[in-house]
Amino acid sequence: MLTRLRLWRCARVGAGTRVHGRVHIHGGGRVALGAGVLLDGRAAPIELHAARGAAIEIGDGVVIEGGTSIEAQFRVVVGAGARIGPYAKVMDNQFHPVRGDRHQRPASSEVRIGEDAFVGERAIILFGAHLERGARVLAGTVISRRVPAGVAVSGYPAKPVKSAAPRDAGVPSSPSGPALASAASPSPVASATPAAAPPARKGGGPWQALAHAVARTLAVVRARIYLRACHLGSGVGTTGPVEVAVDPRGRAEIGDRVTFIGGMLATRIAVAAGASLAVGGETLFNYGTVIDARARISIGQRCMFASFVRLQDSAGGKTAPIVVGDDVWVAHGAVIEPGVTIGDGAVVAAGSVVDKDVPAGSMAIGNPARQMSLSLSRG
């Protein structure tokens, strides 16, 4: 009964389904859970986000672990007995086109995770992916295609794994520690909307305009509280908690109209003594971003950082500044390593681990990331 109350946003909840810890279900679409499902959000919250008109269908006996996020703009289907997570990401839309107007949402493509399939820790399942029955996508792997029944894939780029090891064995650990990255950021509009409210629609009436203005004012007030240790430009807003630790001998400057979007996990900002963080105007951070400055992190204007992106200028015994240009898009779960400079207009694909400079106007993709032409993407 308690479980059903906690899952009141779900269109259907089967018998014996359990919820532990925190589970965020939002978006106005349809979320249906089968029987005997386990949503284990004890270690970290789980997000099930079905946009208006979209559907997430979870089959019987599915286990989803903490930190995992499933986002549907169209349809995500998870077959009976599948296991997902922890910290996995499943999405049927990349939210922004790689080229052209990044605020035009591209078309969605259904994601299907078959019966008894396995999605490992921090794996990213992108639009159009189809894991057939018993397919296994191992830890840190990024995949956007069909994986045949019973086949295991690992790495980024993904390669088939030949062993017939038990499903939890032989999973490679993330080479960059706790954060592999990838995927896209929910749109500023949809994600900035409180979970309980329907997404803002363009062309709304005066009441919607008023609601938007009130929400924006609240976001600005919230930013003044959460980001009080930072030097803030005008109109900086946060739509959820941001954890900030700026040493009195460090400096954090957040430019005009920068937005921090709230979500299943708070964004964390740390600036050490003698270190600096500078963020250019109109840059956007989605939830769960980690910015850890021990030397210098400089971010340009109008950048977009998707959920779970990590920027750390000190890691693995190396400390060197990170510089991100203007109009850069870093997709879900990407990791930017010390000493990296990312040129204007570049894109970092979901789940990439970037350990060398990214030229302006190119795409960094893979672990470790390689630089490819932006024209080698679908759009």
Partner: protein, 85 residues
Amino acid sequence: MDTRLKLRTYISETFFADGYSDQASFLKTGIIDSTGMMELVAFLESEFGVKVEDHELVPANLDSIENLVAFLGRRSAARPAAAAG
């Protein structure tokens, strides 16, 4: 197995696409996206023993069977010359 057949077999087994022309763009037809392109490049490097440089990751080299065959042809033609030089 010749280059064209090797590539088509790999694409069929990995991206489940058949019945497209040698000139068809993988990106425009939706056969391969940017994530898949990285898998394709890894295949080229392991199967054909070529080292693909990042600046070569462009559609003119990779975005159709014809482009791939031409790219691999140029690389295999360049290799003996480089060895001789």
